[in-house]
């Protein structure tokens, strides 16, 4: 066991070492946020199995059944557990299919945006110099600019759809990843084992692949998890503004938007999908927080 007390006089913190140099505190795995974990698991299952478990088609209209309240309200029926919308479509089924959209968009956008951010961060941090200052300027510009406007612009010029929204969210998040990853790369690069790798004669490629990337991967994973919720909210907001996945494909943001004009008479149309968004985002965020504390306690709020 490495010794905790070697650091006590230094006040527990050392800037030259990272979390994996410390013994893991006992019992942290047991503090896994089970509730979050279950919510995430249910959402993934529902999204994958939507065609099998959805009681109705999400797009099938049935005007006689329109605006039915949820089963527990007066006038509701067990046929439509969460009621129906203005076109008589089953809310629960739409909710299930909406989960798919949220997850697909999150996966595509995080893979693209996170990937670009990871590469930019590593290149920028490792090479340094002019490449670094140029890339970081671009990052700063993207971060201080209300990038969602670009997303709206894309939606109008390219037409809404999965591709547009994926590009839009990629533009929105790559800079956040790039900045944090670069910071980590700089910290890792300053450590002696990288200089020693050069003394050993490692090529730049090997130094990056063996010595740098594995040491920023924890941070990257945490960052990825912490951004799932963010991406889901952005996707929902874009859908709400009419710049997301076009109808009739159901998405949660669009469902909230559709229900808005009936809020006085059919509150569930907006409230239920919105609550779903909140619950899922909450679950992902708590899970990400836990993962951060466990893997990378140094990574503060980003």
């Amino acid at each position: 066991m490495a010794r905790v007390e070697e650091r006590i006089d230094a006040g527990f913190a050392s800037t030259t070492t990272d979390a994996s140099d410390h013994p893991r505190p006992r019992g942290d795995l047991a503090r896994l946020p089970w509730v979050s974990f279950v919510i995430i698991a249910v959402m993934v299952l529902v999204a994958v199995l939507a065609p099998l478990i959805a009681p109705h088609s999400p797009t099938e209209q049935s005007l006689p059944d329109k605006l039915l309240p949820p089963a527990w309200e007066a006038g509701g029926s067990t046929k439509h557990l969460l009621g129906t919308d203005v076109l008589g479509r089953d809310l629960l089924s739409r909710l299930f299919y909406g989960a798919r959209v949220s997850l697909i968009v999150a996966a595509v956008a995080l893979l693209a945006g996170g990937g670009i951010g990871l590469i930019v961060g590593i290149v920028s941090g490792y090479l340094g110099g002019r490449t670094d200052s140029f890339l970081m300027r671009a990052v700063d510009a993207t971060l201080t600019f209300p990038t969602i406007l670009i997303a709206l612009l894309l939606a109008v010029s390219l037409g809404p759809g999965l591709r547009t929204i994926a590009i839009a969210i990629t533009v929105l998040i790559w800079a956040r990843f790039a900045r944090v990853v670069r910071g980590e790369v700089l910290a890792v690069k300053a450590r002696d084992f990288v200089a020693l790798a050069r003394v050993h004669g490692c090529s730049h490629l090997r130094i990056m692949a063996v010595h740098i990337v594995p040491n920023v991967l924890n941070t990257f994973m945490v960052l990825l998890t912490l951004h799932i919720g963010f991406v889901i909210i952005v996707e929902a907001s874009l859908s709400f503004l009419g710049a997301g996945i076009p109808p009739p494909t159901p998405s949660w943001g669009q469902m909230v938007s559709d229900g808005r004009s009936h809020i006085a008479s059919a509150w569930w149309l907006s409230v239920v999908p919105g609550a779903a968004i909140m619950l899922v985002v909450l679950a992902f965020n708590l899970f990400g927080d836990w993962l951060r504390d466990w893997l990378d306690p140094r990574l503060r709020q980003v």
Binding site: A141, P146, L149, V156, S237, V256
Partner: protein, 305 residues
Amino acid sequence: MQRFILRRLAQSVLLLFVLALIVFALARVSGNPADLLLREDATQEDRAHLLRALGLDRPVHEQLYLFISGAVRGDLGESIRYRKPATEVFFERLPNTLRLLPLAMVGALALAIPLGVLAAVYRGTIVDRVSGAIAVLGIATPSFWLGIVLIYIFSIKLGLLPSSRMGGPSHYVLPTITLGLFLVAGMMRLVRSSLLEVMGSEFVKLARLKGLSQTVVIWKHCLRNALIPVTTLFGVYFALLITGAIVTETVFAWPGVGRLTYEAVIFRDYPLLQAVILLKAIIVLGVNLGVDIVYAYLDPRVRYA
């Protein structure tokens, strides 16, 4: 200091230019921009006429020159929906947004800083947990949904507050809460974590060793250091507010530039959207410049660099 400001100014202008290029290019990737401008029932003659009028039949570099020189003069095209110059529409709506934004910003700061400080000072206690829960919920709640829920509860069920449009002070309550809440959450966590970091530093120990009380040390020595990251992020927060205003103004039918953005999207009014984007960019960049100056004042290490 002056050189620093000049350099930032030059960077901002460069950034605007890049943005203008993006706007210009996006209008053309999906075909001829004229098609974005024409109504659905337009004829071939209408189209040809429009092409000539806007110079879209000329080579691309000439089009770019026309676009940029027009933009510099403040001419960003005519809104399709309003049949007026897009800039004029924007500036008609801007005052309404400017009534809302500062309220939300000040409200968020007034709530986030004390809460963040309390959470840091009473770390691990119930105060910390409650404010932590507020932060987590605030971040997870989509603000468009929050707006709707607030309308349902306070306007429809309780009938206490107006649900939409501008008016007396009561009209400001719900939009301000909706716009400010997610800011409160983010800022509070930032204040807490940066304050905790500062509180662990050696100079805080030294200040305590002088015999200063914990309260004086926190408010005098720590907060100023802890607010430096908050100040640097002020620009980001402002950008977030501009973004948030789109959704909030849409939900509350608030006739500001946020709602205007939504209308431009819904009605596919490309000239209006590009004007809104470029003008908002100018505002955001201006605010960022101001933030840099304040930051230099707060941190002597930057001032004397």
